[in-house]
Symmetry: C2
Subunit: 283 residues, 2 copies
């Protein structure tokens, strides 16, 4: 597959390069946008790469603008990749106007229900097309790839890593939607994207996948205790219980006073990059 990659902008940042790109996605059937931070070390050779999956309403820019991750990525020599959180301008009725569904709310799965199934194929996009594009167009080490994310993107990081363990060797999450079958955000998205019958919902629910025997490498999760979505939407206790019961290694750090946003994420970003660096260095 020949990919035409349009560079929308590049910016020198901590000695490396922050870039924003667009390409026509064959899997989605529409243009998609993504962002890459190449650390200074990428000028000399391939480096480990981390995919960051953002949350509801975010774009490919959110993480690069708000998370403050480039400083530590430059220090450790890690490439960072983020991407838009859904297809855009699909023409699907109701696509826009509801921040929990459609635009900005792709939930990192392949929709099976019309009308969403035509374009909303974020799992295949992230794990196949974008993954291969990064490995072929950027100096990324193919055996040192990790994934992390926030909220809906934390759900994405967990489920994509559980479902494609061969692709991702290090995993972490900030305030993930950890049991989407059991929360309003997940139930709403899954009922539209996967159907109301719930037959395949468990395949995209991190807690259910752990219960079904899927496993991850050592996992780091940070969670703010002043997060207004924690009890109803994130269901982290449910995920933690499943991990304990089924022997999934897990470090959950709960932080007094921190909320759900990027002021929380940026505070613990250095620890996450170090976690991935350590995991990927063991390979």
């Amino acid at each position: 597959m020949t990919t035409h990659l349009e560079t929308r902008s590049t910016h020198r940042c901590f000695g490396g390069t922050q870039g924003f790109y667009q390409h026509f996605s064959e899997i989605i059937g529409l243009p998609m946008q993504f962002s890459v931070y190449q650390p200074p070390q990428a000028q000399q050779g391939s480096v480990p790469v981390l995919f960051f999956l953002a949350g509801l309403t975010c774009t490919e820019g959110t993480f690069m603008i708000k998370a403050g991750a480039q400083r530590m990525a430059a220090q450790l020599g890690i490439m960072l990749v983020s991407m838009d959180t859904s297809p855009r301008q699909t023409g699907i009725p109701g696509e826009a106007g509801d921040w929990e569904l459609g635009s900005g709310a792709g939930f990192y799965l392949d929709a099976t229900e019309a009308p969403w199934s035509k374009y909303f194929r974020m799992e295949s996009y992230v794990t196949q097309e974008l993954y291969q594009l990064i490995l072929s167009h950027f100096p990324a080490e193919q055996n040192r790839v990790g994934i992390f994310g926030h909220s809906m993107g934390g759900h994405g990081a967990l489920t994509l890593a559980l479902r494609s363990p061969e692709l991702y060797r290090s995993i972490s999450a900030f305030a993930p939607i950890a049991a989407p079958q059991h929360c309003p955000w997940g139930q709403k998205a899954f009922s539209h994207y996967l159907g109301a019958s719930r037959g395949t919902w468990y395949e995209h629910d991190a807690t259910a996948l752990i219960e079904a025997g899927y496993r991850l490498p050592a996992l780091l999760i940070d969670q703010g205790l002043n997060d207004p979505f924690l009890a109803e939407q994130l269901q982290l206790d449910r995920f933690e219980a499943a991990c304990r019961l089924h022997g999934q290694p897990l470090t959950i750090r709960r932080h007094d006073g921190y909320d759900h946003g990027y002021y929380f994420i940026s505070t613990f970003m250095t620890d996450h990059l170090q976690h991935h660096y350590d995991q990927l260095s063991q390979l």
Copy 2:
């Protein structure tokens, strides 16, 4: 003066508190918004405080979201303050729609020309009302106050510090508009805010103030050499020449490849905070 301070939101960040506030400004005659990052050390007592003045189109949020300054501010124990870049919703015809004038383009001066003079009084707002509000409502050390800024806000930091040296003990700037009398942005703003006759323009031009004998403490300026505004709008060489001729201590660092945005600013933020910390620690 009793100030009613409305807290719009607060967020735990690097062990401190990121807050967004609104108050009715007596000087401007309208509500104004500003932001404060209180480092963890502020829970035990007063700390040094830095005012950051942002550039064209920015708001009180831009610096706090994009600059990645809180990490180092928490480490050094420095409070950070930023504010909106102009009055908003003044009802002045032509206020919006031109990013170089009116909303988002207050230029940190008190307009003397109608219709702008009624509300556009950013110099008095920043140096008097907001300054006093911060000292009285937050744990800020009154003798350890610094100022820095970017682009239009670099102009603001330089001119306000030159014009009110008793208020600011440490100064730095990122890519400042350093000789606004001689660039299109400055000429446009000054002609509307100060009048076409140019009689008082020099009073708000950092280069002219240096030439007129005003002085600053040791000054740090960072400048990207891939900044599209450098040659025409910023006029940094002109400022540098004036500083050399008149004995103003100045460190300018020019950086290959860096542009005008926050990826540039964030890269050198740590150095600026260290500069201010060192300057303010000598007092």
